[in-house]
Symmetry: C2
């Protein structure tokens, strides 16, 4: 089989009903991972090397793995690029209101916060 069409096994993801709250809280409790989640909240999908984070590739790879294995994001491969997307609907189904509450709290109090926003 030519190299160009050989497939690595795709990344695995927990089923929605297997997503664990404590894993999700752990995944969100990091500034780099929170940045990734905030970016993905605003667009449907993004290639992994294009996030506005300043960490080494191996560190970034670890962060994506934590986010994926906790059920926060999905990842898929296409043309040698890996795309990530937030599991917004799955998280909302499993933990109603959690993601929006956390992101709103981070927007109000995190780096670059806009505390006067409603």
């Amino acid at each position: 089989m030519p190299r160009s069409t050989r497939r690595r096994p795709g990344p695995t993801h927990p089923a929605t009903e297997e997503i664990d709250l404590l894993d999700v809280l752990h995944a969100l409790a990091d500034p780099t991972r929170m940045t990734i989640v905030r970016v993905l909240r605003a667009e449907p999908e993004r290639a992994c090397g294009t996030f506005p984070v300043d960490v080494a590739p191996s560190t970034l790879s670890h962060h994506f793995k934590v986010l994926r294995e906790s059920g926060v994001i999905t990842q898929r491969e296409e043309a040698n690029r890996r795309f990530s997307a937030l599991r917004t609907a799955d998280l909302e189904h499993r933990f109603p209101g959690l993601l929006d509450t956390v992101l709103a709290a981070y927007a109000r109090t995190g780096p670059g916060a806009t505390p006067d926003a409603p």
Copy 2:
């Protein structure tokens, strides 16, 4: 000074405006600490040795420290006992809705979950 009246310095706590969301998420991302928080949600204050958790005293002491230093609980000493209380109002002021959303999600999906509850 007689030993019985000598005071250790009391535990320190972050001010409300210093409570960091990522620290709080990290503090909540552990089953023992989540159990402590759930117990304290239901009563104003509780002595540290009386929580229904099955961990070594040194481990439990670490968990209380993580909860206190993140701003999730306060602790005070009285008559050689240390009492803990949830910073419910401080957390609600800093991160509106967060604690209730997390605890509701854990009640629905965590150990002993009651998924049929509204």
